[in-house]
Symmetry: C2
Subunit: 212 residues, 2 copies
DNA sequence: GGCCGGGGACGAACAGTGTTCGGCCGACGA
DNA sequence: TCGTCGGCCGAACACTGTTCGTCCCCGGCC
């Protein structure tokens, strides 16, 4: 029963999907494949290499629209949301996205697609190039953060984790001498349902790109 | 010879500064303190807890300006640059910034300072609250990425790592069928000295905040 | 057909990690 | 003076990524 790289990547993704990126280990993958850890190194040079393969596989699943100059904003927003949902479906995997080398073809395809949308939208070449970079970096960061928060919420029995109203109360009761703004704007600081914060930040960058 | 939390944090920061965040381990800190790893757990509940203490210590070193409505843009940019340089001085530590709980007083001080600058600049309360969040998230992401890249550059004997012109050549020689934009804009994609990419992204968000 | 080489599979081991247990010992309160 | 409590720490447990050496099977060559 030969092992292929695709099998390794597939079972790795299953493990991450079920138990998170922290639970992914060579032995875990090897066990799921009914073999020892050494067998994997014939198909994968490294754990880091496996991580890159995982990001590449995910990148290949993004569907890229044909650029439409009229509503390029919605198009780029949609691609960012796709990446976001894909990352969040494999909790913690976005941590591997920071280490990905631009040498990979699948991630290059994603970059090309986003670049195409921005350029067709009338964004300057330099702004488009750096804009794609900034957007992807932010998306990865947002997903990493929310993955960590979700993990903490579900495992810590809700101890040490507080709800929004409790959080508001704590912020509001900070010493007004040192924290006047934090205390008086506790509502805004804890506001936002779902991906409101994400939408805000992405829109911030997209609107900035418009005039360049 | 009693051990204090400050000592633990100090030696941890020294280790990170010299060898990077990946080299930081309980045993490493314990050895530097001439003791065993178990001794640390009397002062630090967790490795994760130590990470949070490190971020808190770094946050306390940021100098916050008195808000000046006239040039709030330069002020917020300067604070972001301070955080960036501080994170980069301890390579890889920004990875711990994603897991930091907002319950800490020192990080709350940083948030308060940035919030003060934005609010005095005339930014809407909601935009200011989410703006601080987005900026700090991006800064952490940027520092994590560049830390990883720098690490790769210095350890891999420059093999597997290519210069800018070689990178341009590779991008330009991608199949024009699938990668027309990437190939024709290889120059823009590889442009940027120092922290140009950072300045661009931060300015993008700040300019976006202006109109809200 | 017989032989040999090469490469995938894999058991075992190495060095390292975070964390816990149990005992030691000194200082501080009753 | 005695007791208890908490910092200290050696040893161990269950992991991690990775390598070495061996086994074995399958394909090509004489």
């Amino acid at each position: 029963m030969p092992i292929t790289v695709e099998q390794v990547v597939d079972t790795a993704l299953e493990i991450i999907s079920a138990e998170g990126f922290e639970a992914l280990s060579m032995r875990r993958v090897a066990d799921a494949l009914n073999t020892g850890p050494a067998s994997l190194y014939a198909h994968v040079v490294n754990k880091t290499d496996l991580d890159e393969l995982l990001i590449a596989r995910l990148s290949s699943k993004i569907v890229l629209p044909k650029p439409d100059a009229a509503n390029w904003r919605e198009q780029i927003r949609d691609v960012c949301a796709q990446v976001r949902d894909l990352y969040l479906a494999y909790p913690g995997i976005s941590g591997a996205a920071f280490a990905v080398a631009p040498t990979d073809l699948d991630t290059a395809r994603l970059n090309e697609g986003m670049l195409a949308i921005l350029l067709n939208g009338g964004v300057t070449a330099q702004a488009a190039a750096w804009g794609v970079d900034a957007l992807l970096l932010y998306v990865a960061a947002y997903c990493l953060e929310t993955s960590i928060v979700r993990r903490r919420v579900e495992e810590k029995d809700a101890v040490w984790v507080v709800g929004r109203d409790e959080m508001q109360r704590r912020l509001a009761s900070l010493p007004a001498e040192e924290f006047p703004y934090t205390a008086s704007h506790a509502v805004e600081l804890t506001a936002g349902e779902g991906h409101d914060r994400f939408d805000f930040a992405v829109s911030l960058m997209i609107d900035g790109l418009t005039r360049r």
